[in-house]
């Protein structure tokens, strides 16, 4: 099996772009990624693409060119981008193809996501009685977590403040104004203990990544980023997931723990080696819990890391250096690919004012989606 390299990365700014469709944003990102790799659409042998609210991703071929390639639409909730990348990585690692692209874009209406119960195998009653909300799940999961581990809810504001601080350094981020811990803690309560500015919002944006066999990467770039592993896992019995009318009385490790463990194992690299990480922060409690679920630290260690500034760009374990979902919003199809795009810049050393110092060599991403899907990558220079 061959190794896989990322040789082109393109992004359309996240946030709100009135007058530009999700598909147009996707085409923008794809062209940027192709230009970055120095290839044309005609050089692309296959594509995996995802969009939740902006039409089928393969509609992009009308913009990019009807070249007859294998183009697969991917739909896997908030993990759509990570899933598209996992399939693209496998298509090259298996030897089936040499060069391909993973694309994600989206354009969601304002307001909370409004999932259909039937799409998740649930009766209409679940939505009619007011329980079909991702926000409730996030709130209950972090509330239970803080209770079990006797942790300070004040950490939630610190995490969000870091996200907006990093977003201010990212020209492609949506929310680029730093916000104080007091403003975040004092903003409207959405679902206790989470306030308005502790949540990310559905948004717009697009990312595309050109992948190839690592042994031909030098044809496209002098700084290939190697995708050491890309692992997708779904929930096992006993995990605590979104849209669950019932849970088992005893907890099992969730899909994030499973995917991260397998990703590190396949890469032959441990969590201690990670120098920059992008982990799912759909709300600030998610970052707190995912720090542990991914294996980046142990239960209870988060408080020290966060308060000491170790998860800041200049710290020992910089997390969500581009502002994460909190500062970028969440266009479902693109979100997981944004994380990988950020790590590509960080490993190339081209992240500008938000560049992690010390020439980082190992980076990690984690995305989580309903109803219990997780995708993780380990990337190196």
């Amino acid at each position: 099996m061959t190794d896989v390299a990322i040789v082109g990365a393109g992004i359309h700014p996240f946030g709100r772009t009135p007058g530009r469709s999700g598909r147009e944003q996707g085409a923008f990102a794809a062209r940027a990624a192709l230009a970055d790799a120095g290839v044309g659409w005609s050089d692309i042998q296959f594509a995996f693409g995802g969009s939740d609210s902006a039409g089928n991703a393969d509609a992009l071929v009308a913009d990019l060119g009807l070249s007859g390639i294998e183009f697969v639409n991917v739909s896997n909730g908030c993990a759509t981008g990570g899933s598209a990348l996992a399939m693209a990585e496998r298509s090259i690692r298996s030897g089936a193809y040499d060069v391909g692209i993973a694309i994600g874009f989206d354009k969601h209406p304002p307001g909370a996501f409004n999932a259909e119960p039937a799409q998740y195998g649930l009766g209409d009653w679940y939505g009619e009685t007011g329980m079909m909300l991702t926000t409730q799940f996030f709130a209950m999961k972090i509330q239970r977590y803080l209770h079990e581990h006797d942790m300070d809810p004040g950490l939630l504001s610190l995490i969000a403040a870091k996200a907006y601080r990093n977003g201010a350094l990212n020209p492609n981020a949506w929310r680029r104004t730093p916000m104080s811990v007091e403003e975040i803690a004092g903003s409207t309560m959405v679902s206790d203990p989470l306030t308005k500015y502790m949540f990310c919002s559905p948004a717009e944006g697009a990312v595309a990544l050109v992948l190839c066999r690592a042994d031909i990467a030098h044809r496209f770039t002098t700084k290939p980023v190697i995708l050491r592993s890309c692992v997708l896992r779904s929930r096992r019995y006993g995990t605590f997931e979104v849209f669950s009318p019932a849970l088992a009385p005893e907890r099992t490790a969730g899909p994030t723990t499973d995917a991260a463990r397998a990703a590190f194992e396949q890469a032959g690299i441990g969590p201690d080696d990670v120098r920059v990480a992008q982990i799912q922060d759909t709300e600030s409690g998610a970052e707190l819990m995912h720090m542990v679920e991914t294996g980046l630290c142990a239960h209870g260690e988060q408080a020290g890391l966060i308060i000491d500034g170790q998860t800041e760009i200049g710290g020992r374990l910089p997390i969500n250096t581009d502002g994460g979902c909190l500062a970028n919003g969440e266009p479902i199809g693109a979100s997981g690919l944004r994380q990988v795009h950020e790590n590509v810049l960080q490993l190339r050393g081209t992240a500008g004012p938000r560049q992690v110092p010390g020439d980082p060599k190992v980076a990690f991403t984690h995305v989580y989606g309903a109803p219990g899907i997780s995708a993780c990558t380990v990337m190196t220079t």
Partner: protein, 151 residues
Amino acid sequence: MNRSATTDVAALVEPSLFTTVDGDLSLLGSACATCATVTFPAQASCPRCTGADVAPRALPREGTLWAFTVQRFAPKAPYVASGAAFVPYAVGYVNLGDEVLVESRLVTGDIASLRIGQAVALVVESIAADDGESIKTYAFMPADETNGGRR
């Protein structure tokens, strides 16, 4: 609001979620004969062992609050009370006898008093819908507010 646990199953939002035991309402789950796993709603196979030897099971009416939050903004449709009728409400997971944790609306006169671990009991809650009708569904209420579940 009818907070009695005794009611007509056919009038509830989704009758298949409910059963009656000795005239009192219970939630209807299922139990696996092979590995004893309990699910809610009832299902025809076991999510743990994948077996199909599964039978209906009336769930305990009393439990303890395992986690909760408050829904403070109006959910979009299909929630039935998104409009002017929206009133913030609490939801949580209730541990029913260590058999299963059931997600439920919580009915209380004092949301701020909810605590993880507190005793709660099954009640029927009526949600006033935007169309002027109302729907009835299950909820749990702090046991010290229910007068033994027969208010």
